[in-house]
Amino acid sequence: MRKTKKTLISDAVTNIDTRYIEEAAEYTAATPKRKYAFAGWIAAAACFCLLIAGVFLMRQGNGATPVTDDLNNPVRGEVAGTNTLPGEDDEQVNVYKIDGLGIDANYLEDMQTALYEHGWAYTECTLLDEYDFVLKGSADEITNDMNKDECTELAKAFLEDSGLNALIKANGISYKFVQTASEGLVVTCCYFLYDGENTGAYIRFIFEDYKCIGEIQAHIYNAECLDALELLTLDEALAHAYKVNADGILEEIDAENYNVKGAELVYVRGLPYYRFNGYGINTREVIDGYALAVDIYSSDFSDVLTKEHELFKIN
């Protein structure tokens, strides 16, 4: 006898154990819970964060990233709060409320001085907004032919000499270094921790062929950790996908109309997104795409997070 699987499933599900039926009938959800005790932390996540990114971020700042063969392999980005991608069951990532602290001119001068002391031939600073700036320079001579350990040492030394270390310690923040290497790129990432937990703030040093890349983009902000949310898988997140338009803001798209070629987990305005490249299956339009990697509407702070999402902008 041939039966459709729908009939079979119907019959099979109907007869599941009575205790499960009773259990589900009795179920009453508790009031919404906070997923981390850490999430209640409001006070001291004031963390000065200097994000030093090289090629990827600068390309992003100059427009859509071209689709290349490299994008056939997902880029596994280091993100505070998680080291894996895509999301596995029950994996959680932190979400933040981001406030600009304002750029302190003295602080920037100190930064530039520190860069000179590390052999940067020149620096040029451009303010992007109240808490973003770009530093350009060159450090080829002294950073040439470094090995991985030396890359980390340079990052550590920069952190110490720039005065950032004192600021970080004054705010009760500690940090740890994690290094990855792939195809000529060495990424030394410094994660900031508060009470042993990732705060979401980090410094990233990128070296190409063991030479420090001479362009730096930095963000200085006050990050307040609001919640820890379940990390969606890329497929799940793509149900609500966006492309970045010419003004740097998001426009919703149907991801099924695009061939998605790469994915990297990044934070924008304190929210984790899958950043991907793609091109229109019919249109061949090349896009920079983003998909929220968490369900912000399930958070107790959904109103704040929704606002951060709406304010998404790529310079």
């Binding site: 729908k6 079979l8 099979a12 109907t14 599941i16 009938a25």
Partner: protein, 186 residues
Amino acid sequence: MRDDSEIIKLFFERREEAIAELSTKYGTACVSLAKRILKNEPDAEECTNDAYLAVWNTIPPQKPQPLRAYLFRIVRNIAVSKYHANTAEKRNSYYDVALDELETCLSAYVTVEHEIEAAELTRQFDAFLATLDFESRVLFVRRYWYSDDISELADKFHTSKNNISVRLLRIRKKLKNYLEKEGYEL
């Protein structure tokens, strides 16, 4: 409102107020359950009345514990039979949508004796449910046994519809993997 043991006692005493008590206590839930499957209020009420009659005919000798699950199962059986009897008209009920979701976990056709397969699959479902955490298990049963729709589940679990969809997707993936390990063709 009487507790279940008192209602069962009324059935044993063959007192007709047993059905009135049953209806007062569980009537709304029964109609709601049947309606999710049949998508039709009059049919759902008819199913529920048929279920009361079935309970009347089976208690005694049955002395179900718990009474609620026993009644709900009867309602569901009757509603599903009715659903199969007029499937063409009743497409797109919540039950149908829920079944479509689960269908992806199994092969296209089952070519062996259906009843045996269904019984075996029930055993697998029970074993699978035992591996889930409490909330996931409740979510699965509410969705695929009670045929709750996503909005109802979001309200019940105090979360968003998107969150419920994602959690169900993950449970189905786990079920698929589980059945695959147990030798079901996928």
